[in-house]
Point group: C2
Chain length 295, copies 2
């Protein structure tokens, strides 16, 4: 028995090397896409979390869904709020969480201390590309402006789903919504029961594996027992705070593009020498929008 | 901002300490269940993977779904086939894989080298408890004999779904089904597109975090580049190979029990000081059968 040929699964980041394919696969569709089908992510929407160990995690912020929380997060990043912060909680099949935890670090003046409940937004104004598969948590799901989205046409609401690598705002009990200082990323099966219960503010587009592979905390809810177990954060900055030449750049496949439609068809119906039985459908969290480093 | 109060999510293993609750939560339902609602797992169905670093991963085998592959795996464990084996592949948001990889280690005589395609089984003979939520990969999903199950009443078939901690058999291209020497566990969002494409032979009931927190491999498909990165396995045994007093014991909540029905209702409709908006549904992979160490 040699190497298992399990084909690479949906990840937030898609390798773009063109393989010699006979059947269309998600990577082959990406490789054949046109440059014009990709949308650059603004530098102000990219948050860079640099760990003291040299690893970098890049989060794309979602002002379209949580504008007040995202404005807070940008202000915190610009003020250096997370210098000396840490990842202090890692709960298996759930979340990794970071921030200043028990400290009472002063906040920049512009930070809104009690933001509104940005757990969902108006569906109106969003152009939706439907997924066309069923969902256990929302009447319908699809994509909009590069984001996966769950929506309810009757209620007129839309929300970002808790999928792998989604980033949300830690909070205390309702009506507290969290001001954005404590954030978490999902590192297991998408905890969708948190949808519309917490403000989702973005997604990790690079480096989620640095959080997902951390030792799990042994205390209740995965908190590390000793502060010496915490994973220190050197700095958190927006890409827009860096000189142009030093900014990492990312782009996503437009959900209105022909390649996206083709990619989604292939995701629903894997069929090649390995995938002998097409599923005919796909879970939203298993068909996350392709994001890649931009040239 | 103090500790985020995110409530513990679905994990393969449920802590049984009774909390002082006001609202029913999944842990409170488990804590209030009766001992008779739990079913002991046979010692011959428990496979113990002892890593050289002292960590133990416990897999429950599923002879109900993949009898020939499970018979192979038991024969391999009894023969010491995995002494000197290793975890040699860890792909983020996908799988951790172990076995003897490139070696040509001799097999016990009883091992079936080309097992049948146990990717699904007959629905007939299974007593199903429906989940009652929609699914993107199968006409219906539910539970049977302590397992989550996807099924198709029209086709008359049932299969184990690829959820977090599911264990499957590595194989080469079809019609090869893999003989069971190379196994993987899912460590990210349930890769359900593998359903009915690969033989699922069980689930990790303890220690999945030891696999999920491993460094990701840097080669294609998450293979480790250097053999020195491999995570050595000391031994793989069935619990039935140990003296009675040394056997770990596990039990699952019977899916026909009143507590299971209540647990499922609560999983679909979290409602307490934190969960302000019940989802009304749950994804099968977010409602995995509670399994716990038995006294």
């Amino acid at each position: 028995m040699r190497h298992l040929l399990l084909v690479a699964a949906a990840t937030a980041l898609v390798a773009a090397a063109p393989p010699p394919v006979k059947y269309a696969t998600p990577p082959s569709v990406i490789a054949e896409s046109r440059p014009g089908e990709w949308q650059a992510i603004p530098a102000d929407d990219l948050m860079l979390i640099d760990l003291k160990n040299g690893q970098r995690i890049v989060v794309q912020l979602a002002p379209l869904f949580a504008p007040v929380h995202v404005a807070n997060i940008r202000a915190l990043a610009r003020s250096g709020y997370w210098q000396g912060a840490a990842i202090y909680r890692v709960q298996d099949n759930y979340v990794a969480q970071w921030g200043n935890n028990d400290s009472d670090k002063p906040l920049p003046a512009s930070v809104v201390k009690k933001p509104p409940a940005e757990y969902h937004r108006a569906l109106r104004g969003l152009r939706i590309t439907p997924l066309g598969s069923s969902d256990s948590y929302a009447p319908a799901v699809g994509y909009t402006a590069g984001w996966p989205v769950a929506y309810d046409a009757k209620a007129g609401t839309a929300n970002l789903p808790h999928c792998y690598a989604s980033v949300g705002v830690g909070r205390d009990l309702s009506p507290d919504t969290g001001m954005g200082g404590e954030l978490y990323a999902a590192i297991g099966h998408g905890p969708r029961s948190l949808d519309r219960v917490i403000a989702v503010v973005g997604r990790v587009v690079s480096g989620i594996e640095h959080m997902a592979s951390l030792p799990r905390g042994t205390e209740a809810l995965g908190f590390y027992k000793e502060r010496t177990s915490d994973v220190p954060i050197a700095n958190v900055r927006l890409a827009s705070m860096l000189p142009e030449a030093e900014r990492p750049r990312f782009e996503y496949l437009k959900d209105k593009s022909a390649s996206f439609a083709r990619w989604l068809r292939v995701k629903k119906n894997r069929q090649d020498e390995f995938y002998i039985r097409p599923a005919g459908g796909v879970d939203l969290c298993n068909a996350l929008v392709p994001v890649r480093p931009a040239k």
